[in-house]
Symmetry: C2
């Protein structure tokens, strides 16, 4: 597989509202799946599937501890990347107001 395909896979992994929500939580702290399950309106199974997509795209890493599995963002650049997207949107929105 070469760069272009990895790149597409990263953006595909980011292109879902629940996965973005999960990533934004994982930006702040390492969290276990049960903590992610708590306040989401998605099923346990569904969250688990989304976490797998994030892991396959190598955006997160996992660590097992007893019955729990903890996830965290693998590379802090991801946080900056998401922040840039937010800034672009905010700029667009503010220009629409004029």
């Amino acid at each position: 597989m070469h760069l272009a395909q990895y790149e597409v896979n990263i953006f595909k992994a980011l292109a879902h509202p629940l996965r973005l929500t999960i990533l934004k939580k994982l930006c702040k702290d390492e969290l276990c799946v049960c903590e992610l399950n708590e306040d989401e309106m998605f099923s346990q199974s569904n969250i688990s599937q989304h976490l797998r997509i994030l892991k396959d795209a190598e955006l997160v890493v996992q660590r097992k501890e007893g019955l729990n599995v903890y996830y965290k963002v693998k590379d802090q650049r991801l946080i900056e990347l998401i922040r840039l997207a937010d800034e672009m949107i905010k700029k667009n929105l503010s220009e629409m107001d004029l």
Copy 2:
């Protein structure tokens, strides 16, 4: 529509190999559609459809001049965003080599 949805739309727009190729070209210069059509192995119609997706996600802007339509990247932060993704991949790949 609120922020989360705009964000998803940006990443969806980025999540396709041809669209990434187009964007990388538009990072450097403003180009007309005929120039994009030249060395791509995709049809005129298909490129036009992808350009529309990029425009709807507000990643590019267009300008008409006679029969030609010129596209360019709307916000330079997009270039930095794509560069961050590349860096993340390169780091992952270099760690795999060890």
